[in-house]
Symmetry: D2
Amino acid sequence: MAPSPHQLRLRVRYGETDQMGVVHHANYLAYFEEGRTRMMADLGCPYGELERAGIGLPVRKVELRYRAPALYEDELCVETRVTRLRAASVSFGYEIRRVADDELIVTGESELACVTLGPERKVLALPDSLRELLEPHLEGAV
Amino acid sequence: MAPSPHQLRLRVRYGETDQMGVVHHANYLAYFEEGRTRMMADLGCPYGELERAGIGLPVRKVELRYRAPALYEDELCVETRVTRLRAASVSFGYEIRRVADDELIVTGESELACVTLGPERKVLALPDSLRELLEPHLEGAV
Amino acid sequence: MAPSPHQLRLRVRYGETDQMGVVHHANYLAYFEEGRTRMMADLGCPYGELERAGIGLPVRKVELRYRAPALYEDELCVETRVTRLRAASVSFGYEIRRVADDELIVTGESELACVTLGPERKVLALPDSLRELLEPHLEGAV
Amino acid sequence: MAPSPHQLRLRVRYGETDQMGVVHHANYLAYFEEGRTRMMADLGCPYGELERAGIGLPVRKVELRYRAPALYEDELCVETRVTRLRAASVSFGYEIRRVADDELIVTGESELACVTLGPERKVLALPDSLRELLEPHLEGAV
């Protein structure tokens, strides 16, 4: 059975719209980021703690598909899944829907590398504690 | 012979950094947007004019790969190419390098649909005038 | 008796920090905007509806004082009051505190003009319906 | 004789507009920041160097007045002056005009404290080297 995705609700802010009258496309990266970091926090591993321990998860790759525009004041639901766990990286998949009519707004995926923070980033194995928290949420996990 | 890409120089702003000490990954979408719209303006078709004529080019799909972090005050060069021209869409490819050491920072591609502006967007053929301006810059064009 | 302010809780997003390791100062304008527009929505007059009726409330003046830095993942409470109601403008005052320790982070005030939307903005009297909703929340109102 | 202000030209980006069809008001804080940090860099003291030396200039107070809206693709000129120099703070004043018609768009002022960077910020005297560079640009200086 597929693990259920993490769900986060957020409301579109005025400053997130552009003159086309819809959410500017760059803001969905912030929504994705909120999705995965709230997921981590809800699992008991806030991303801020990871950074305080000297570990960072910078985004290495991201893909977005814009399905329908979201509007100012829309309430959106960001669904986040773990789509891949590797030795030193983790990928998250996202579906953003408008709560009012369940319309699919944006889908996407991002791959994050695990690195040491500081002037020179070195690739690092994902901490076991984080891996154990994420594993049950891995898509396709049994 | 490959057409030479459009080049735009910009400098990283303080507010574009995040607490990892580097440019926050969402800002590269703004750099891409500046790249393609300055290209259109330099070719004689500013994007703003298109919108005033009731035509929009919303982003339908985008991919980014983060190669190396850019820092505050870095001067960056955004190289933009036309990678695909279809009946009702156009794709642009991007390479962002740091001017000081020519390091490759981010690469990516975005696909834009051609639509009517207004409450209901209808797919529209790319205006011929725009197609003619972009065609010579199409990657792989002879 | 002073009317109680509107309260909105929000959490600092990663992309809202800068390389100083704190919330970049421009983001508080977005928090203020969320404060006043959520207040209007909770009073029964969502700002979006006003715009759909052809009326806008652009910011004419704003002041901010930064008291203490807010950090990534901090939960903040935005308290919004109506500080002045005039014929064709309304002012809101804000206090933003960190929920965990009640520390005062930012205070400020903004003045919004009431105008017709569209290419040429004309000053407009505040709609009576909006004035009636805001009046009981006017600071110093009896 | 009044020292001439520092001038910076920049072009409004698409993502800086909002659904009112104009530059969203929060973006002017980024324009101000670009104004003062380009001024410092042009005087020979890039703000990034200051931070690398452990010194920060966080914004303590800011005021903005919005005179006229700026539009997408407008070229703007940010004029920056030093309006006050104190032991441990510096204030900058700004005028932003549209280049095409010289229309005044926004004016404002910001006060920056001089502090040590790091978890606890301590107030610090402005470095003499910075003071000497800024002094000749102080409004009203003889």
